[in-house]
């Protein structure tokens, strides 16, 4: 972005105290960790202010100042806390250098409107910091899980070896456990059986119904919509309770009267239960796609002699496919991630991955859960990327400019 405001250098009487305040903040933490908070604040403030003064008055070379700050503070950090200290030191050294020049050169005003007062500029950046910490809050738990899954010990915490970046502290043993342990493998396989079948059922029925709902004359559309969306609204525990009674009766009937094998009946029950839960997502995404669908296209196809089935597969389907696929992904993730209903409806032989994780978290605490979690985060990144690409493609197909 081009700069909005001409920038000018700021007086040292403004720059140095501000950087000193940041130095004091870091000094506070280092100081409390080493016994004396007030000494830490003082030393931190003095070091950072002195560094700033030397850079601006003496050195006059920004690149060199950057490396001096990074290496210098990293060395200090190494002295206090070893390797992790050095890394934090290097980061804070870079930060102190950056903020010194940012303030001194007046760069902080470059992208803001020229008429803002000093307080408004301060509020602008305070607000950014607040928002930044909210986004950190959102993402940290997911990021923390990843390094912990390489833990060499059977703990849920960072061991001292891990913090020293000692290769001894890391291992792939939890991943090995996941891929060799029967219990985990069986549950993973069950998830891979149940989720796709449930998805196929909810996508095929859901797409048909969404097409029906998008016609211009549907008697009782609101009521039908409310019924079809209800599995998403009713709390899972209530759905699970209802299905528990219902499917145990159905299961008994299938086993007793029709003589089907018990495991098969178990899978049928869980698949049907999950299919119902996935339906609202398919309905919502596909109806949303159909809103932008031009019905004169089907009429044009009919005009040129295509029968309804050909029209559907050759004209309508390719256009609404992105919506159908993202609805399907939602349905898949709903089933793949579902634990309450399967806990009630399924039996031990239908144990899915989330169920295994749930019992793992409640009973035996094994870091294998974290390895599984990391793998699942990878899967969700893939799914997220797919949905995003599909959304853009759909908007392009419908002639909207992508946002």
């Amino acid at each position: 972005m081009a700069s909005l405001t001409p920038i000018s250098r700021k007086p040292l009487s403004f720059v140095l105290p501000t950087t000193a305040a940041f130095g004091a903040l870091l000094g506070l933490f280092v100081g409390t960790a080493n016994g004396s908070a007030s000494l830490g604040i003082l030393i931190g403030a003095v070091i950072v202010a002195a560094m700033g003064a030397v850079f601006i008055l003496g050195l006059k070379n920004e690149q060199m100042a950057k490396w001096i700050a990074i290496v210098g503070v990293a060395a200090l950090g190494f002295f206090f806390a070893g390797l992790p200290g050095a890394i934090i030191g290097a980061l804070s050294g870079w930060f102190f250098h950056w903020i010194t020049y940012w303030l001194y050169e007046g760069r902080y005003r470059a992208k803001l409107l020229p008429y803002l007062s000093g307080r408004q500029v301060l509020w602008h950046y305070t607000f950014r910091v607040i928002c930044g910490s909210i986004f950190v809050f959102l993402i940290t738990p997911i990021l923390v899980v990843m390094p912990l899954s390489f833990n060499a010990e059977d703990f849920f915490t960072f061991t001292p070896e891990m913090l020293r970046f000692d290769p001894e502290g890391y291992s792939l043993k939890h991943y090995r456990d996941f891929f060799t342990n029967n219990e985990w493998q069986r549950s993973f396989k069950n998830s891979l059986i149940i989720a796709p079948i449930a998805t196929v059922i909810s996508v095929s029925l859901g797409t048909l119904a969404a097409i029906g709902l998008s016609q211009s004359h549907v008697p009782g559309r609101r009521a039908i919509m409310a019924i079809l969306i209800s599995p998403m609204i009713v709390p899972l525990i209530i759905s699970a309770t209802g299905m528990f009674f219902f499917y145990s009766d159905i299961g008994n009937w299938l086993e007793g009267t029709l003589g089907l094998p018990k495991t098969f009946v178990g899978y049928v029950k869980v698949v049907l239960a999950h299919a119902v839960l996935g339906i609202p997502f398919v309905i919502i995404t596909v109806t949303a796609t159909l809103v932008g669908f031009d019905h004169s296209l089907t009429r044009a196809a009919a005009n040129m002699g295509a029968n309804p089935v050909t029209t559907f597969f050759r004209v309508q389907m390719p256009l609404i496919l992105p919506g159908v696929i993202s609805g399907g992904l939602f349905a898949f993730i709903t089933s793949f991630d579902e634990v309450v209903v399967v806990l009630f409806v399924g039996s031990a032989s239908q144990k899915t991955l989330p169920w295994q994780m749930f019992t793992g978290l409640r009973e035996q605490i094994s870091p294998t859960i974290l390895a599984v979690a990391t793998i699942l985060v990878g899967i969700s990144i893939l799914l997220l990327a797919t949905v995003e690409i599909l959304r853009r493609r759909s908007e392009r197909l419908r002639g909207m400019s992508p946002t």
Binding site: C131, I139, I224, S230, P235, F246, L272, A275, A373
Partner: protein, 428 residues
């Protein structure tokens, strides 16, 4: 239609379609065909959802009032109990005891008496063992010859000589009961009508209150965190906003179990947050914060899990607010705060409303996260329902609790539909 053509059509009779049928009828037929086609497309799914979702929930709701067990197991006794007036304080007469033995002998043969004992035990502790123990003795009696039974039964267990035993059975011998609902709100069905449970048994009202209060706290903290984040997303240039959006959507797409286990890792006593605080010297090693297995843990974890559901609706509303409104307000002399509070905030209220109802609905029905990070003090009403389904097997009570919860959710959902509309629910 102009005046000139009107008399013309009247003269020519009804307008005809190409095939000679009146246009009106032809149109009605094509409309009917269209409706039929739409319904034919919807029908398979509608039937599937009705049969495998709506009916199960309906039958679960019915379970909360259904109480046929006493009547089915002890048909003769129930008839005799009708004649007995419990308010006199006297024990029932010989015919009732005889009817009871006759019923029990049949029930014991079918092994149904222990189930009845379990059922009665929900109302009065000790009934389960009374039925089980007496069953072994009664089995030896022959209803036709061994009478009179009153003294024999009291001999077997003196509880059969207690007025309360019989009045409890009489109270719960009706086929449709409000007993489970009374239990669900910490009351009980007694011969003298509904009464409060003894002090030490009143836990469910507390649990309902806790569920509501904690859901409100979670909703409020979600609003507080989501508002600035959504504002930033809506006001940044599209490229940076999309980058930040990933940080919102990634947790949204990540498995619930993954996020819950992440919070378990973060919050425990030897967990990441405590370690960092100790390392920074803000908390001493001996007095690590207790963040898990209590209400704090549930609130923090659920705020994080439900935050995307608040940010996304807020974002979609805020994106439609023109930034020029704020500039216009400022140009007319409003301070920053006035411009925000009098112009921007009222326009963003629909987003707050939509997000809050969504988060509140989701949080009062939550089960997994409170179960794992909530300990005993941070659990919700759903955890109690699960307990009654899988451990105590008091399904009637579970169904009654579920019905109350469902009613609350449906009211909120109705409000959501009024404010936002179901058609406007957006995903991702």
């Amino acid at each position: 239609m102009s005046d000139a053509t009107q008399p013309d059509t009247a003269k020519a009779g009804p307008v005809l379609a190409a095939d000679g049928t009146p246009l009106k009828r032809s149109l009605a037929r094509s409309l009917r065909v269209q409706k039929m086609r739409a319904m034919a497309l919807i029908a398979p799914l509608l039937i599937f959802v009705l049969v495998s979702f709506i009916i199960p929930i309906g039958s679960m709701l019915f379970r909360s009032v259904e109480n046929g067990m006493v009547e089915q197991t002890l048909p003769l006794t129930v008839v005799e109990l009708q004649a007995w007036d419990a308010s006199t304080g006297e024990l029932p007469d010989e015919p009732l005891y005889a009817a009871f033995v006759a019923d029990m002998v049949i029930a014991i043969d079918a092994k149904r008496h222990t189930r009845l004992g379990t059922r009665m035990n929900y109302e009065k502790t000790g009934m389960s063992s009374l039925f089980r123990k007496s069953g072994r003795q009664i089995k030896k009696l022959d209803p036709a010859t061994d009478g009179p039974f009153k003294d024999q039964l009291i001999e077997i267990d003196k509880k059969w000589g207690e007025h309360e035993t019989w009045s409890v059975i009489k109270t719960h011998s009706v086929a449709i009961t409000n007993g489970y609902f009374l239990n669900a709100i910490d009351m009980q069905r007694t011969p003298d009508g509904a009464q409060a449970q003894p002090e030490d048994k009143r836990i469910l009202i507390t649990l309902f209150k806790r569920t509501l209060i904690m859901s409100m706290i979670i909703t409020c903290s979600c609003i507080a965190l989501a508002y600035p984040a959504a504002w930033l997303l809506a006001n940044l240039p599209a490229r940076s906003a999309n980058m930040l959006m990933i940080l919102v959507l990634l947790p949204f797409w990540t498995s619930l179990l993954v996020r819950t286990s992440a919070w378990k890792v973060m919050l425990q006593q030897q967990g990441v947050i405590n370690d960092v605080l100790v390392w920074l010297g803000m908390v001493s090693d001996a007095s690590r914060l207790v963040l898990i297995n209590n209400q704090t843990g549930t609130i923090i974890a659920m705020t994080h899990i439900l935050l995307p559901f608040m940010i996304l609706p807020m974002y979609s509303v805020m994106r439609t607010i023109q930034p020029t409104y704020l500039r216009a307000a400022k140009s007319m002399g409003a301070t920053n705060w006035t411009a925000f509070w009098r112009v921007y905030f009222p326009l963003s209220v629909p987003g707050i409303g939509a997000g809050s109802i969504l988060v509140f609905i989701l949080s009062i029905g939550y089960y997994i996260t409170p179960e794992i990070v909530g300990g005993t003090k941070g659990v919700f009403i759903s955890n109690r329902i699960a307990y009654h389904i899988s451990s105590s097997l008091n399904w009637g009570l579970a169904a009654a609790l579920g019905t109350i919860l469902l009613a609350v959710v449906l009211i909120l959902y109705w409000a959501y539909d009024k404010i936002v509309g179901i058609d406007n629910v957006k995903l991702g």
